[in-house]
């Protein structure tokens, strides 16, 4: 067993990882930037080391500083969380060369799923359907137009190195195609240091369905069912649930099919540890592979609640080289779970970020309620990082119970000093379409644009 793990992250996921370590009697080392000195993960860890100034590029993204911290604290392994260095193959290599175990997939698996164009090709080879699109990076403008004509508009121009919903543009005709092609390349270069873009058919209002997978070092891979993450605003997830109402109510047989496809892709990449395979599903039940997220995800708790499996604990055990303790037939989906990402944003002011000091903080509780957060009364949210302050997860014997419980729980939140998205998520929980389970990624735009605005404003 590992004796000490360094958590190379911050916020709620660092707290989550520290908890899993504590339950395994593993000592924890937190790293933090100057502005995170009073953060919860720093308080909870056994040791804490300051690694730089506020900017992530000066701290949480600094491989040299994180490795230095790992060395002076003499850790056995590093858990990268999500974001930051979690999908950085070079970081994994540095860890390995310093004899520190990286809790995640191998550099080889990371590179096999390296960028989106490469993983698309891998999926195709594995016989998994992908959205019609270019074979790889599109180097020239006239190729882009030709491919778009071949696939048929509308199309999506995507950065191969993009992630987290960023680096994408839609084009409906040749003119917007040419413009979008060049702007996307410039943006991609600036944001990800890689101007490579590829082209994909744009499936309008798709459902975003992702499959949680786990793989051990013996090559065995299982899936733990799907999560539906279609409730997004500007490609940022706001509400996630497991299982997907689309699959439950309309396409029952798809779960098995999509699950098997996810496992196939993971096997082709010789994937190890935890990962998520993303698909889009259209209204006819056709599914297409999008990409693989080679890390633990923000919304992992909904899978944990319906399967009863601790995913972060599994990550640690798999990193030790232990074999999977579950076979595919052992995985049972019981009940329903929903997660709301609580962001420090003002839903009445176009979701403007609202950092600052939390004056009063009371979080929901009771049966079937789980809160994964790093917030507390008196905590000052720094403006330097993302705006998520926590996740509220409710579970129930069925979707109805989980939704009603979420409604009840959201109303219990008492947070002053900052604005949060709680009232907006209450509106979502009460929306008739959401309650029927009839929604796709266009849902939020419709909700914001439509007559529901007065319902949201009432909730303050």
């Amino acid at each position: 067993m590992f004796e000490k793990i360094l958590v190379a992250n911050r916020g709620e996921i660092a707290v989550r990882i520290i908890r899993a370590c504590k339950e395994l009697n593993i000592r924890t080392v937190a790293v933090y930037s100057e502005v995170d000195a009073n953060s919860m993960h720093v308080q909870m860890a056994d040791e804490a080391i300051c690694i730089g100034k506020a900017a992530a590029s000066e701290s949480y993204l600094r491989i040299d500083r994180i490795i230095s911290a790992a060395e002076i604290a003499d850790v056995d392994a590093i858990h990268p969380g999500y974001g930051f260095l979690s999908e950085n193959a070079h970081f994994v290599e540095v860890c390995e060369s310093c004899n520190i175990r990286f809790i995640g997939p191998s550099p080889r698996a990371m590179q096999a799923l390296g960028d989106k164009a490469v993983s698309r090709a891998l999926a195709k080879k594995a016989g998994v359907p992908t959205p019609p699109g270019s074979e790889g990076v599109v180097e020239k403008e006239h190729d882009a137009v030709a491919i778009a004509k071949q696939i048929g508009y509308p199309v999506m121009i995507k950065a191969v190195a993009g992630g987290g919903g960023r680096g994408m543009r839609v084009a409906h005709n040749d003119i917007s195609m040419v413009k979008g092609y060049h702007t996307a390349r410039t943006e991609a270069e600036k944001a990800f240091g890689n101007s490579g873009v590829y082209i994909e058919k744009y499936i309008e209002n798709p459902h975003h369905i992702e499959i949680q997978i786990l793989g051990d070092t013996k090559g065995r891979i299982i899936h733990l069912g799907e999560r539906d993450c279609s409730v997004q605003r500007r490609n940022q997830k706001l509400v996630e649930e497991a299982p997907s109402p689309l699959l439950e109510y309309r396409f029952r047989k798809l779960r098995d099919k999509i699950g098997k496809a996810a496992v196939k892709i993971a096997e082709a990449a010789r994937y190890t540890n935890a990962g998520t395979v993303e698909f889009i599903v259209d209204n006819q039940g056709n599914f297409y592979f999008l990409e693989v997220n080679k890390r633990i995800q923000v919304e992992h708790p909904v899978t944990e609640e319906v399967t009863g499996i601790d995913l972060v604990r599994y990550q640690i055990l798999l990193a030790l080289g232990e074999p999977l303790q579950h076979s595919q037939s052992d995985i049972q989906i019981k009940g329903h779970a929903i997660e709301c990402r609580i962001n420090a944003e003002d839903p009445f002011d176009d979701f403007r970020p609202s950092p600052g000091r939390i004056e009063m903080y009371f979080q929901p509780g009771g049966r079937g309620v789980r809160v994964d957060t790093n917030a507390y009364a008196g905590y000052t949210i720094p403006p330097t990082y993302d705006s998520m302050i926590g996740k509220l997860i409710t579970s129930g014997k069925d979707r109805r119970e989980a939704m009603d419980r979420m409604n009840r729980a959201l109303a219990e939140y008492m947070i002053t000093g900052i604005k949060t998205t709680v009232s907006f998520q209450q509106a979502i929980m009460q929306d008739p379409n959401f309650r029927r389970g009839v929604y796709s990624t266009g849902f939020i735009e419709q909700l914001l644009g439509g007559a529901r605005r007065e319902l949201i404003e009432e909730k303050t």
């Binding site: 004796e3 000195a37 056994d46 300051c50 230095s68 002076i72 604290a73 003499d74």
Partner: protein, 155 residues
């Protein structure tokens, strides 16, 4: 740690009105807590844990101030802070003399110590002009970003 040391710590606690003291090493951990009204201290001593590395004593949380720019401390002195994470060494090699001692005059270009990270020895410059009044870190101890290393009376 033997009973003599524990007694010495208890006396120190009483003398300086300290109510709680905790010391953690790789091989042992001790926690002393004085009861209300200065009563008998409660001793909590953990079993030795197998470990081979040098003792590491890092605060569970620390308030840090920006490094790089020397900080004026309450007494009018400037603190030289660590710009990186690593192991602090006072001399270029074990046999050599320390770069600076208390009373040493330094200029901005003076090398005051080495911080070693990933087998690379980094010479750290003072970046202030003055006289060393305090050495805040022991030789061969780990330091974090922003940690004060020396106190300097500016010239």
């Amino acid at each position: 740690m033997d009973i003599k040391d524990i007694k010495a710590i208890i006396d120190l606690m009483k003398k300086n009105s300290i109510t709680e003291f905790e010391l953690e090493r790789q091989d042992s951990k001790i926690r002393l807590k004085r009861g209300p009204n200065g009563g008998v201290p409660v001793v909590q001593y953990d079993e030795p844990v197998a470990g081979g590395a040098a003792p590491v004593l890092l605060p569970a949380s620390s308030t840090s101030t920006p490094a790089g720019t020397p900080q004026i401390a309450a007494t009018g002195e400037i603190e030289v802070k660590s710009p990186m994470i690593g192991t602090f060494y006072r001399a270029p090699s074990p046999e050599a003399a320390n770069y600076v001692e208390i009373g040493s005059e330094i200029s901005p270009e003076s090398v005051v110590c080495i911080i070693e990270a990933m087998k690379v020895m980094n010479e750290i410059k003072a970046e202030v002009k003055g006289v060393i009044t305090q050495v805040l870190v022991e030789n061969a101890k780990p330091v974090e970003f922003g940690q004060p290393l020396f106190k300097v009376r500016p010239a």
